[in-house]
Symmetry: C2
Subunit: 375 residues, 2 copies
């Protein structure tokens, strides 16, 4: 029982409220039934419509399928989300099939995240986005029960959020210049490279802005010497770091690039989960943590601790997501070096209001849990 | 605002309570002053009286000096503790001198643990027990504000606490046999070794009980071959693991023992803090985390994640402490392999009621924060 509730009961004991308030109207406070409360998971598919056609090294698309989840307990609802960009192997069908196998009714204490999420993780070896949708909703739920935003529960400093980068997708020069102008508010731009027009992309952006850039090669470079030459060239163009220069299975080549690179080399594709982080040491300078890869906030926080203990850099990234998944991840950003939290900014039909960007910097909502509101 | 408070305000809006309850009696709810709330740290020395003279490989004593702390915020009080066994280099004077330099009045949000504890840590390079006394009190405070016990806030499962070992100090055979009989409730006994009568100690205990043992050499063994012979002998005597066989600076010798040992080798003295954990990989199978070494719960949780990511075993240990420090650490035990949480059981004048031991297993209190009550 928290202090507010104690004070209320003291008020009731004074005779002020207990006879005037019908118990049905305030089931949380008065005459609570003795039957155990249950966790209830529900979910529905949702399709995100992108503002721009999205092109990375390997694909192009105009929508992203997601599944929105809710976990209800004792009248409180936590929101979650699974986002499934097609190249990751999950679909709305596979996520909903997975979530149908998640039985939360057997847990009486929603705070047992380690146990519940461990059980959920054990259902299959994959389905990381589906698992994240449970993790996110549970965190939102317990945050609301405790009456605190996640950044407080995690012990992070709200004002220490970093700038977020904003992604400029691969496109024709005129469109790229237009996108850069539309991204005026963002202080760091992220560029998708890994194709044969990499220098043209950078030169096009540099023709309209001097903002610092980050580059994501998405495994697109095929030769380590050419990659390192490109990285030196990118450094001269004020690129802060490079993500995933070569294919994740080319461990020695990526390690060689990391050893020789004048700027940090960060892995995305090679490091999805906690159990892979230690192997990244010596191969990359840092890791890009995404909730949809790593099964959610609980594992993400452990990955941050592990990477820091190994002396590695940490960034938080995202998929195209609603403000549910994005804002959940944003609560971790006070603990990392760089954030790429533009996933909800790239869609036309966000389902929530949450994190905002002010002068390029992430601003977290102050409401309990994730702090999002359905729109 | 949490849901309970919202409901209360709805009740007030119904006209039931607001005119009947004087605002002075309920300052937390009605007519809260606009001035910012402050964190206030207070502390006092306290001397723990041991039930038995305590002998380890390097010293003997009958008392342990501690400092008890309190952090108050908005009428809520969090309890903390620093324990200073003499061989660790801190005293009541050094702890109080350190705490006098901690200015918490500048923080408006007690939940910013990463920032506040980071600032506290930066005051000196040492004083880990003093730092832990701030960390523990802050965790108790925010737990009480959120109305949840720490195990819920950490996401651990209350029922997953392990057995705690109970330490049988070095002594004459008759006294050892008596101590073992008094320790009837405990299912695992911990034995301090590292002197020339190690086998005698074990044989004496084995003359009265077959319970599993753990052994702590406290850096006492001088030769790696003799140490390994002893470890094989100890395994045959049903010793589960061995702590710190040789001096912490004898890295190669300890690593050689770990490589050849038939049971886990755990480090205590060589690994105090988060920044040392990665270096323990390959030298030991696991680490013994103690709040007084590592500056508290926040760093301890990170050390658990880091050690797990490195594939290492984790135990939680303690100093002689009141039930404040012990119970705080006990909230982490659902996440570890072994616990040695007997520090408050060895003293005559505990200042708190907290964690209990039932059939040898740690039982956590369910009240918010650490869940302790002053006695």
């Amino acid at each position: 029982m928290n202090s507010t509730k104690r004070l209320f009961l003291k008020a009731s004991a004074l005779g002020a409220a207990s006879t005037l308030i019908p118990s049905a109207a305030f089931p949380n406070i008065i005459a609570r039934p003795a039957s155990p409360k249950k966790l209830k998971l529900t979910f529905k598919p949702y399709t995100l419509e992108l503002k721009h056609v999205f092109t990375v090294a390997v694909s192009t698309r105009t929508t992203t399928p997601v599944v929105l989840t809710q976990i209800e307990y004792d009248g409180v609802v936590g929101y979650g989300e699974a986002s499934m960009p097609p190249y990751l192997g999950e679909t709305q069908e596979s996520v909903m099939a997975f979530l149908s196998r998640v039985d939360l009714s057997k847990y009486e204490n929603p705070f047992e995240l380690e146990r519940i999420l461990g059980d959920v993780d054990a259902i299959t070896s994959d389905n990381t986005a589906a698992k994240a949708s449970v993790d996110i909703a549970l965190h939102d739920l317990v945050g609301k029960i405790m009456g605190q935003p996640l950044y407080n529960i995690f012990g992070y400093e709200k004002d220490k959020t970093p700038m977020t980068s904003f992604t400029i997708g691969i496109d024709k020069p005129d469109v790229v210049r237009q996108k850069v102008k539309e991204a005026e508010e963002y202080k760091v731009l992220k560029v998708k490279l890994g194709r044969d027009n990499d220098k043209e992309m950078i030169e096009t952006i540099r023709s309209v802005t001097n903002k610092p850039l980050t580059a994501d090669a998405n495994q697109g470079w095929k030769d380590k010497f050419q990659a390192l030459d490109m990285i030196h060239w990118l450094k001269d163009k004020n690129v802060l770091f490079v993500e995933q220069p070569m294919h994740k299975d080319m461990v020695d080549d990526n390690a060689w690039i990391t050893e020789h690179s004048p700027i940090p080399i960060i892995t995305d594709e090679a490091c999805k989960r906690f159990g892979q982080v230690a192997k990244m040491k010596g191969v990359y300078h840092g890791i890009n943590i995404k909730l949809m890869k790593c099964t959610g906030l609980r594992e993400a926080n452990k990955m941050i601790a592990l990477a820091r203990g190994l002396g590695m850099k940490v960034m938080i990234g995202c998929m195209t997501e609603t403000s549910c998944g994005i804002t959940a991840a944003a609560h971790l950003t006070p603990a990392v070096d760089w954030a790429d939290m533009d996933g909800a900014l790239l869609i036309k039909n966000d389902a929530f209001k949450g994190m905002t960007v002010v002068n390029g910097k992430i601003v977290l909502p102050e409401k309990p849990g994730i702090g999002i509101v359905p729109v």
